[in-house]
Amino acid sequence: MERVLRSNTTRIALGVAAVVLAVVLFVLLKDDGGDNDTSGSGSSGAKTVAGTRAKPAKPQVPVIAIGGGKPVGGVAELSYSAGERIRFKVRSDVADEIHVHGYDLTKDVEAGGTVGFDFAATIEGVFEAELEDRGEQILELRVNP
């Protein structure tokens, strides 16, 4: 009888300890998650235009420059929230077709030309945009929920 009692107490104590631990962990880490969320969208895109979410009075449209058939300064990164408008331009020194995967949008660009993209962020996830003929990735596009 006593043994049963003790083992039950142990079980309850273990259970309570686990729940407390979980709640503490959750509260601690959820805060971190929130911070990451806001700072993440602000600092996204090292050299492309940040603050796509902030919506300033005159929203700047980021321009991805292509030099020698490659993105200048490495693959560009753009981050949006679902439902926003995705706007960017590509200025290229080579003629190619620009393909935004997932959304499956394609536009031709001439050597020395510039093309603009403007579409709604309807699909969440991580997507690539490529110079299709060269198979060269120029943009990593993120749409967060």
Binding site: T10, L14, L21, A22, L25, F26, G125, R134, N144, P145
Partner: protein, 464 residues
Amino acid sequence: MTFLPFAHALLAREDLPLPAWLFAWGASIVLIVSFFALSAGWRTPKFEDESWRSLGAGWSRLLLGPPAQALCGLAGLFLLGVTVYAGLRGTEAPDRNFAITFVFVTVWLGFPALSVIFGNVFRPFNPWRAIGRAVGGGFAAIAGQRPVHVSYPEALGRWPAAIGLLAFVWLEIVYSAGGGVAVGVSPHTTAIAALVYSGYTLAMMALFGVEKWCERGEVFAVYFGMFSRLGSFGVRDGRLGVRRPLSAATGWATVPGSAAVVIASIATTSFDGAQEGAFQNAIETVFDWLVDAGFGLTAALRVTDTIFLVLCFAAVALVYLVGVRGMETVRGAPPLRKLRSGFAHTLIPIAFAYLFAHYFSLVVFQEQAQFTYLLSDPLGTATTDLFGTASGGIDFGILSANAIWYVQVGALVAGHVAALTLAHDRATAYWGDYRQAARSQYWMLAVMIAFTCFGLYLLSVANA
């Protein structure tokens, strides 16, 4: 830094990394479940006996009889033929060629799930088994005696399958990563590999016998067969029946090399997940070293990825063996050999959970392609429209990021629970004394928490 041509073969949409708050939730649930398992364990084994009962002779005749076997075998053979033909004659664009999606998504990722749900369904469709049985039957009819085989060296166990599994994933992820641009393994390579593997498999079947090789060395049969042990449906003495879920797994790992198969599964999925996040910097560093040392770009990438794949295998094996060593220290433990193979099956649910979490979205997206344009235009040359679905496409909006995340965490937690259940059950069978059994399970608990939390971690940094 040198530009790394990472191969994103098929998928136009990749998963967003698991957010920190969900990572914390997942890990917390894992801990709660684990503590609960420690305190609320049962004291006698419940899964060592399958409690198998027949579904009735009708079902067995219908699903296991010669007509069904012949039909399934022909279907498997036909699909192998289509794969090779599409690979050789079709487009080299991997996303438009039937061969790539069919082999690496529909079969490789589809059958583990189908096997858990419906039992060992790959067995009748296995094209090499079908050929082997037909040839064996033909030989017996002509020669008037059954073919004679060399007896399989039992010490080899399932090692050929484990090595084959690593080789398959090496071809899929490591070899193909040298393709340069963002394409994965090419359809042509896939077709050649399928032919080479067919030749090798048929030779081994001729040598050791069809069924023997399917149980020990045929990669797909062994791999999918392993997952089928988790489910409720199983065949016993040629009769179809139902059994307690998970129970059939307990008898799986008695063959040598079984631990290597399940460890290879966890390791390869880990590697695939880690290369797009956790290992990215380390991989780039080693890659740069090798390029500086005079390797070509493709060679450097292949060598780097091979090193990390092998490291993954070693690391997963190490974690498991540390757990086994730990259990050995608990009073009344069986010998190390027995422990080592005796708990290998407890990793099968973890392996399945890893697969499910990492490839769930890929399968949902890519199967849309499989059953629309890849079915109607298998060569990808826009010359055929067999079923009128050639113009179909993938709706990437079908899954929200949240849906994917919850499925991923749910799969890992469910796998964790199943793994703990099997480990606890095995401990009660090995240790007569319940207290010692529970004590031994601190070690397996640590192993499982390590795997599950590592899985969550990989998802939280993938594509971050």
